[in-house]
Amino acid sequence: MKPASPVRKTAVRAAQAGVNLIWLVPIIALIVTLGIAWNAYTGRGALIEVEFADATGINPGETVLRFREISVGRVEAVRFTSDLSRVVVEMRVDKDVAQYIDEEASFWIVRPQVSAQGVTRLDTVLTGAFVEGYWDAEVSQPQRHFVGLNRPPLIRSDAPGTWVRLSMETGDGLSEGAPILHRGVQVGRIENIRISDQDDRVLADAFIEAPHDGKLTTATAFWDTSGFSLSLGAQGLSFNVNSLASVLQGGIAFETLVSGGSPLQPGHEFTVQPDEASARNNIFPSDEGEPLRMSLLIGDSVRGLAKGADVQYQGLRVGQVTDLSVSIDDQADDPVLQQRVTIAISPERLGLPAGSTPEDALRFLEQAVADGVRARVASAGFLGTSLMIEMVNIPDADPAAIQTPPDALPVMPTVPGDVEDFRATAQGFIGRIGSLPIEEALQSATDMMNSITALAGSQETQALPGKISETIDEARVAISDVGAMTTELREAGTAANIGRMVDEAAAAAEAVRLAAADVPEMVEEIDAAAARVNEVDFAAISTQAEGILTDLRAMLGSEDAEQLPRNLSDTLQAASGLLNDLRDGNAAGSLNNALDSASTAADEIARSVQELPQLIQRLQATAARADAVLAAYGDRSAFNAETINMMRELRRASEAFGSLARMIERNPRAFILGR
């Protein structure tokens, strides 16, 4: 043990030196760990709480908070509010964006949505719902507790554009997100449809995107384009469908129809008109200006006159009826009940310069009344069921003036309206409708029905089917006959179409008659020629000439040649008889006969036509032989000349005949049909 002491001292020193160094390791480890922990602690971001109605699809630790689709935080916990009515979602937001989350920030839960605008956020089916937040880039007093929106906002608050407020009678057909259309182009959306607190009108916020919001002025008119409109007016029936989207979710259109509006202040309220026509009618460039209020005392019935009815001056809308009441005119001897109609007239609509006061308008109207303008009730609309106030010039009106009682509205003089006329007309119209023998017609119809029933019920009628079937059998036979005949006709090469044949057979008959008219002459000429040939009693005529004459005579005397004209004329007669029959309108009855005759006629014609070429050939052969014979005689002898003449005539006749024959041969149908 003793020798160890000095050694131990050095060993201790060495160990101590090592100790100092080795303790650096845990110290460094501690520093590093603490640094990491500090980093994690300071970098974990701010905790914000958002209240939602429910937390569908929110999983603590998984659901993320997104800002412009970038994950900037994560839900850490979900708990209830103290009254259990809502849930509070606690989210840890990344440090670098947490500073921007101030009171302007809004949060909502993004889930898949199926709406009239379409299916949106389908991606969240895969990823699960997430919380989306939106805030601006301004750093202000941070806030850590928020109330989440029930649904995603349709318009991001930083989108350039203008918010306006729309006020309308009803929100029929309108839904959140319905489009705002300008000339058919969607330029914005509607949201936040609600009932006004003050009156029972429906309010909605509309956002019009830049740059289309530049079209808005205070004179812009908005109207409802929801669904479709079906209107029956003086112009007839009109059916308007804007777009499928507006049918589904409604829509509102706007147009700046008149100039002169001033630029909008944000949140300007517009009144939405029910349709475009009323929007166009309702434009008052200076609706802000004070209107001239007057009253009218009307003795007529004002049934059909309603608040908001037009007040027209010389056919132009200048104001509207604002009130209807009853007043007793006690100044007269016999107190009469009169209707007091209060109207509001826009001075500028009367044509007065901008900025005119109601007093200016009153002076203008006083002048007009002095010139004979009176107010009266007139019917409006196509059917005249509604009334309006009309200010018209009555040339021979009794002198009157606008009364201006000190404590009441000025009273415009009135004349009886022309409504009664219309009433009478309408009455007459209705009366005429009423006097139509509808009862009798119905009675007759009933009687007829009864007779039919009785007839159907009788035994004879019930026996009918047997007879009918017999008839049908007969008809079938007849039809097959007709069919056979038609087939024959078709095979004979005649009309493929009986109707056409019938139509054109007249012309054909005419042509045939004209063509055939030459035939007898021709035959006579031939006869004459033959006679002259006979007359030339020339002993020296060779046996050839005899032979020609014999041939000619044989030919002309043959049954063929004699029968030809007769056949033709028979044919023509038959055809014309057929035509007459058909034309007499008895066609249906005599169709059988007619078809028969037509068939016969066609057959005869065809037969005749077949014989014509032979005849012509023979004629030509005869002529040629005669030519040859005559050529044997001298050129200049009288006989020669006469013979040549005769021959020429003969040839001409044969040519005429030939052309006719060729025509017939070329197109036998043309012989009948005339072409």
Binding site: P26, A29, I36, T127
Partner: protein, 225 residues
Amino acid sequence: MSAPLDAAPDEGTHDGPVMTAHRAGLIGCRSCGRVWPEDQHRCSRCHARLVPPDRRGLQAVWAWWFAGLIMYIPANVFPMMRTETFAGLMGSAEATIMEGVIDLIKHGSYDIAAIVFVASVIVPVGKFIAIAWLAMVAGRPATVDQAHTRLKVYEVVEFIGRWSMIDVFVVAILSALVQLGFVASIHPGPAAVSFALSVAFTMLSAQSFDPRLIWRGLPLRRRVK
């Protein structure tokens, strides 16, 4: 020189005072095991520095131990690995060691959960306790039986130390294998590094422990049982 040899048969019987190298004025080389006189500073066989068995050497043990313990805290607090399915669309899960174990139990994989739990929690914690206990009692008076127990504990700690890395291996292998791009991918979390460091530090701690100290506290005289 013969004292240690003589002591060896004594260990089995425990019937006499234990002769150790220190008591014999000798110093053992920790590298090759050869004993030298105490005044020798360097082992002539393997040229390793000869360190006398001293409780002051326990400072290194404690230093590594503390370092390991410090790193073990983030290893449990931070996520061990991050799993992304469908590029994060189906959710990205980050799980610490204990969350992973709980998840595995929830999924019914009790055996794997047990393995992970043993490898990541039981073994490191046991090691911390064992090393701390060894470092505290080393050099203190002890019976031969106690000394034997300490030696066995030390050997177990030495042996099992490497297996503590199994968790890190799992994360490393998974990160390397499950890189399916869009479909799924696994990335090691900060806890993996911490855990690996913790294991390394505790291994170094265990290595710094001088097992000769176990025998320093043996009684000079045989206790009568």
